[in-house]
Amino acid sequence: MKKALAAVLLACISVICSCNKFTIGNETVAVQDITVPFQVIEFHDDVNVRLLHCDANHPAGHIQIKAGEHLINDISAEIQKTNEIVGHDTLYKLIIQNNNSGNFLHTYDYSIEMTVYYDTLYSLVFNSNAKNIVTDTLRGFYYPTHFTQDTLEWDSLAPNLLIELDGGSGDFNVLTNCYRVTTKFLHGTSCITTKGSATIASTFADYDCHGIIDSRELESHIHYVTSYGTNTIYAKTFSLLKASNYNIGRIYYVKYDKKTYDYIPDEGDWGWITHHCPEKKELIGDNIKPLVE
């Protein structure tokens, strides 16, 4: 019995002694320069990121990390080649991660701050619990696009920005000014706020979405909203809203133009639209409504 006790105690002591993560250490700054141009950024874990457009002093790919000295070595920003090719360009993505483990051993009262300088961005993929990810004005990425959204069809060489939320519970603020902004909320409890302007905005929320998509400050001409989630979506548009709600989530819209149209499905008239999924209308109720501030 005593031998067993001694063995357990020794094992515990050796584990404890080998671990230096009882404190996060003093705050330290590390600098990293990535030379490969990247167009996609994937955000993971709890790294608070600030995206700034590159300038003369800070070239694209310049990264600053601020964190406790016991944590900073395991915070990574790595480049990976994607399978996606836009035009003749292969896209590269920057993956931001916090690989520290055993975090329960030290205090949770800390933050990891990162500043990333970029040149052109096509896509932001959030899978993060960071409480603050803020962007400078994102201009999107130019590539030829063929739009076939319902009856509207045209080809365009336009700057596009794709925002994808694939998990996590972070708070994200994206400021943008480009032709088309697409927000795809696939999973998680994050809260994303998009601001700025876009000619076309598309918002999609999947079944397992519980967070908020707030586009009240994104001024768009046309806004498509499709929601299968239980979450709340705010949309603002000048001339056209097409909203389809397939679940109990709510879609609130802000009408920038005072003129209001009714939807006449058979005649294909476009205007302010409240479009329910006909099969589940009884389950869902009237959850698309104007926002009363």
Partner: protein, 436 residues
């Protein structure tokens, strides 16, 4: 905050003291005959996020528990076989907002929890003065905050206030005096509603604890097992037996918070199962199972919709490869399951552990939660052959449904007692076994 902790500790100690002081002669006799102990324990732990989204609420916080239990002494045979376990009930309280990191979001989203659960604590190694034990408890917990898709959407761990509370702890007990013991433990406390109301990913807390346990009267000397006068059919009589168990269980699910629908409507889940089990030690049985599960909440899944004409499913036609709408009835959604089963028996109470596979026998079998499942059941033999059960179906830790019901056991002996050269029924058996 520190003041609050102090108040909690003082309250617990006061209760402990009152229990010691307020007892009359009859109580003393009862306490003395039953080896009753009281215990107060203080925890310090952390919230373990098994879903990445919940990492937002990472924090360390204290918890408190108070237990009343019996240190068994061999009054029944199984007590001696399990090395005199401790049996009792624990009251547990944790305030998730009372964390030392100042993460105020935790309190706002998760609130606090009050739980009460019966437990059994098995001694693993050691003797009465110094021993390692394993505590296992299941009961009810009340969480002050739960998921709301508009006001508390970031807490998608728990969809209801009332939940099951499960505790699993490894403990070390050291005797200080004849009646006082110190207890140190590390353990997991889990809260889940068994998917009765979605979302239900569950809340987990890991904690280390230290406490004091006190015998209210001088402890009894453990009795050694004696020869049993009679075996009941659900007990092992050292002969070889197999049994066929037939169960029916019913459960209820509210999926409105995730898949839409009426927030007050609960869909029923019907679970018919049969188990073929052979007994191979005094407390262990193992075998295989086959079950049919009709989960009516499946009709709210994506690509399913219901109208006056019935249930419709949008699926890809395997022949043409194109999507088409099928009209189906509820029976076509029934899942067929095969499982391997292990059972552990303690007198009338048994634990059943199943590991199984959903068999896809038609196009409409929903395998979106995975095709491998685990099922845990608690059974209580109400009569010799009739039992009540409570079962939890999970897919790798993610609860699917909780059901309760009744079952009937057909016992069959296949062992011939060659020593006496005759087939004989064990004492206490029902007449219908006479044909053996």
């Amino acid at each position: 905050m520190k003041k609050t902790i102090r108040v909690h500790i003082i309250s617990l100690l006061s209760v402990l003291l009152l229990c010691c002081l307020k007892a009359n002669g009859q109580d003393y006799a009862w306490l003395s005959n039953n080896n009753i102990m009281v215990e107060a324990r203080a925890h310090y732990g952390f919230f373990w996020h098994h879903h990445f989204e919940m990492a937002r609420f990472n924090a360390h916080y204290p918890a408190f528990e108070f237990s009343v239990y019996q240190n068994t002494f061999g009054k029944r045979e199984w007590e001696a076989n399990y090395n005199y376990p401790y049996i009792g009930a624990t009251f547990y309280h944790a305030n998730f907002g009372l964390n030392f990191e100042g993460n105020h979001e935790v309190g706002k989203a998760l609130g606090s929890v009050f739980a009460i659960y019966p437990f059994i604590n098995y001694p693993l190694i050691g003797n009465e003065s110094s021993q390692f034990t394993l505590k296992f408890g299941v009961g009810l917990g009340y969480l002050t905050k739960c998921f709301d898709n508009f006001t508390n959407y970031q807490n998608f761990s728990i969809g209801s206030h009332l939940n099951a509370a499960v505790n699993l702890s490894f403990e070390y007990r050291q005797q200080v005096s004849s009646r006082l013991k110190t207890v140190a433990s590390v353990g997991l406390t889990h809260f889940s509603n068994g998917s009765t109301k979605l979302p239900n990913y569950g809340l987990n807390t890991f904690s280390a604890a230290f406490g004091l346990a006190y015998f209210l009267r001088s402890p009894r000397i453990n009795l050694t097992p004696t020869k049993r006068p009679e075996y009941k059919p659900f007990e092992f009589d050292k002969k070889k037996w197999f049994s066929v168990d037939l169960n029916y269980g019913i459960g209820f699910k509210n999926v409105s918070q995730t898949l839409g629908g009426d927030t007050t409507h609960y869909y029923s889940v019907h679970d018919f199962s049969t188990l073929l089990l052979a007994q191979f030690t005094q407390h262990s049985r193992a075998g295989i199972g086959l079950s049919f599960v009709l989960d009516l909440s499946d009709q709210t899944l994506p690509d399913h919709f219901v109208d006056n004409e019935g249930i419709h499913v949008k699926k890809e036609d395997p022949e043409t490869g194109k999507e088409r709408v099928y009209d189906i009835n509820a029976l076509q959604m029934t899942k067929l399951n095969f499982s391997l089963c292990y059972a552990m028996t303690m007198n009338r109470l048994s634990y059943y552990f199943e590991f199984g596979w959903h068999l896809k026998y038609n196009l409409f079998t929903d395998l979106s939660k995975g095709n491998i499942f685990q099922k845990v059941s608690f059974r209580y033999q109400v009569y010799d052959d009739i039992y009540a059960h409570l079962s939890l179906m999970t897919h790798f830790g993610r609860a699917d449904y909780l059901c309760f019901g009744l079952g009937y056991r057909f016992n069959q002996k296949y062992y011939i007692n060659h020593e006496k050269g005759t087939r004989r029924r064990p004492p206490g058996m029902h007449k219908r076994y006479l044909f053996l």
